[in-house]
């Protein structure tokens, strides 16, 4: 968190309403998102209790395990969940585009992808565990499960994993996305409560949000008081209707909150780089669908040495790109870098568009721009710069003193002797330059898994899902 966000929090606390910390939306919002609110049985790792889900805000589906200790009912619940989720996921596979690649065969990329919106990070973790507990199951043998359960497990695992990929929007958590766009007058810890966070953004803070009788927790854990006074007696009564109704009361308020959260995010204009990140999501989704179609094995329990290093490299790169893109897309995010002196903005007061360097054939156009800024500039001369106003261009800081910064444009000027119209900022134009740049080197190759070196334990045993995985109890 930066001082800028802290200031927004202070302001929110003072005014009694959340303050924006973004001017554009940094996540993709699907035209057809599926809201998914899972609940689990207290005290168990991943025993499902209920879920409310659907793509139509007026017609939520409620799935309930009315006897949560019954293993067969849990798998039946998983099969029901698969019955809603899998058709939704698969509906995005039909329409694809062909993508050409350098040094590789072209591939088919889905034109759109599923988006599973969950309330909070707890729901993401629970989804991952649900995936873990179902993807190794067998549809035959001693403990058979309904056919669609293992497939559901693989998709839940995929979506849960993808949620921790920086900048991905396949499985956003409402509290996280809201928290990225608004600062409340409470702590980050309290922001994890969806009802509390939403109230700050809309009507102002209320302690009702912490009262489980008014706003039941958004899951996956239920309120202990509800468990003791409502759920346990309902389960003991043996009446499935009563259990179902009890759980409906816990889920419906959150259901309404979720759609309100989506509406709030939809009210923001989309950031310029969002489509690009969504394209990566679509590619990733298509890759997963292809892996399933080719009959690949379910995802292993944990990453091997090579897979871990590869995933880390991808995630680090995505994180760096996400951070830079958000700053380029959103002046309010860029302001954080201006505050720390890694970016500056101001008005162009002087230009030398025809400035050149070098002689003869190596003579190059290097226009100079002088910017007047109030920002503290902490960048040394020679720093490479980029600018959100002209993303293809690269520049270099020449000098900075007394609120005047001289910048030399070094990249993206083309081969001409004079700059193309609009390529060099005009006097009077507002511009922003930053040392943050989005050009990353590719990462070097990793060994094949079967050539894992001795320093990392040597080649791993090939992973074959065995009966142990399939028969693991689900207590």
């Amino acid at each position: 968190m930066s001082l800028l966000t802290s200031l927004a929090r202070l302001r929110a606390l003072h005014e009694g309403v959340a303050q924006p910390i973004a001017t554009v939306r940094h996540c993709h919002l699907s035209r057809r998102p599926m809201v998914f609110i899972p609940l689990k049985l207290s005290g168990e790792a991943a025993a499902p209790l209920a879920a409310m889900l659907g793509t139509d805000r007026d017609r939520p589906r409620l799935l309930v395990v009315t006897q949560p200790r019954n293993r067969d009912q849990r798998f039946a619940w998983a099969a029901e969940l698969a019955g809603v989720l899998l058709p939704y996921v698969e509906s995005f596979l039909a329409d694809t585009e062909t993508v050409e690649r350098r040094n590789a065969d072209p591939y088919e990329r889905a034109l759109d992808a599923p988006q599973l919106v969950v309330p909070n990070l707890g729901a993401v973790a629970f989804t991952r565990l649900l995936g873990r507990s179902t993807r190794f199951r067998r549809t035959d043998g001693p403990y058979p499960v309904p056919e669609e359960v293992p497939l559901l497990g693989r998709w839940l695992t995929y979506l849960g994993e993808r949620a921790s990929y920086p900048g991905s929007s396949l499985m956003p958590a409402a509290t996280e996305e809201l928290g990225r766009h608004w600062a409340t007058g409470q702590s980050g810890l309290e922001d994890a409560n969806l009802a509390a966070l939403l109230h700050w953004i809309t009507d102002g803070p209320t302690d009702d949000a912490e009262d489980p009788l008014i706003w039941p927790p958004a899951g996956p854990a239920t309120d202990p008081g509800f468990d003791a006074e409502v759920l346990a007696p309902a389960i003991d009564s043996g009446s499935p209707e009563r259990v179902t109704e009890a759980l409906r009361t816990q889920l419906e308020p959150t259901w309404r909150l979720m759609w309100r959260a989506i509406d709030l995010l939809a009210g923001l204009p989309e950031g310029a780089s969002v489509a690009q990140r969504w394209e990566q999501d679509r590619a990733s989704f298509s890759g997963m669908a292809a892996a399933i179609a080719e009959g690949g094995p379910p995802q292993p329990r944990r990453d091997g040495a090579v897979a871990a290093a590869a995933r880390l490299a991808r995630m680090e790169r995505a994180q760096a790109a996400y951070d830079v893109q958000r700053a380029y897309d959103d002046p309010l995010v860029m302001a954080e870098f201006r505050l720390t002196g890694e970016a500056f903005a101001g008005e162009v007061v002087e230009t030398d568009p025809g400035h050149t360097e070098g002689e003869g054939r190596s003579r190059k156009l290097r226009p100079l721009v002088v910017v007047k800024t109030d920002d503290p500039v902490r960048l040394p001369a020679g720093t490479a710069l980029g600018t959100p106003q002209r993303r293809g261009q690269g520049a270099e800081l020449v000098s900075a003193a007394g609120g005047l910064v001289t910048v030399k444009i070094t990249k993206g000027m083309g081969r001409g002797r004079t700059p193309a119209p609009g390529a060099v900022p005009e006097v009077g134009e507002r511009v922003c330059y930053t040392s943050l740049t989005d050009d990353f080197q590719g990462s070097p190759a990793l060994p094949e898994s079967e050539s894992t070196p001795w320093t990392h334990g040597g080649p791993p045993q090939e992973y074959v899902p065995n009966d142990d995985d399939a028969q693991e109890e689900w207590s």
Binding site: L213, G225, F226, E229, P233, G238, E241, R242, N466, D468
Partner: protein, 265 residues
Amino acid sequence: MSDRLDDLERRIDELRSAVRRAMRARDTGTARVLRAELRHAERAWDALVSTVPAGPPEPPAPRLVTVREQVHQALHLLSAPAQPRLIVAVSGAFFGGTIRSAQLTSLRRDEARSFRSSPYGRPYYLCAALTDRLSPARGLLTLSAWPLERRVIGPLSPRVDFLTCAIAIATAAATAAAGAAAPDERATRLLAGLARNIPGGADGDVAPPDPERVAAAARAELAVHAERDTRDRAELAQRATSQLGDVARLFGAATLSTIVKEEAR
């Protein structure tokens, strides 16, 4: 009817909130009153929404064999002091038993009361195992017909009894399997759980347990402990014989704290 249902639902919601609020304030008195009202309303609601009246899902089958007798059967098979959970499992696996652990909690006290009112009036009693202080051991049941040496518990006895039970169960499983077309799943699961905890008793988790192998492994470990355990138990049994009267010999000598509890009751 739907009006009435709506009213009931509103009432139930109100009552639930009130109970939870009372519980949060630790006002148990109010909570109790409200809960009673709530149950009443819930029953009315159930009656309206369900075609079949709500209640325990299936009516209990007529019990031909009493809980007492079922426990006796299981203990007889095990031939060693055992905890309710094992007794219930054995009863279910080999005798089609229907008992639940909760039904066993008051058993020992009932037996003691019966014995006190008419000593030796029954052919057998379900009684306590005795600790090295000759007090009743927590959560262990035995049969009165057993020699005292079997009913006392030395430091090694829990393990010895576990192995003894494992042998008994393996033997019973082998016999049952010989007679039946397919092994009973409950027996298999019970045996697998035991086999896992005996060195050499099982080969990973996947294959169904081999009763003979389980029994052999249990016997092998038993041989390690048997001598000392027999000695410890003989000593304890002798002390029990010389120090305890009839009631205490069957149900354990009261410790100070249990006397206090009894008096408070």
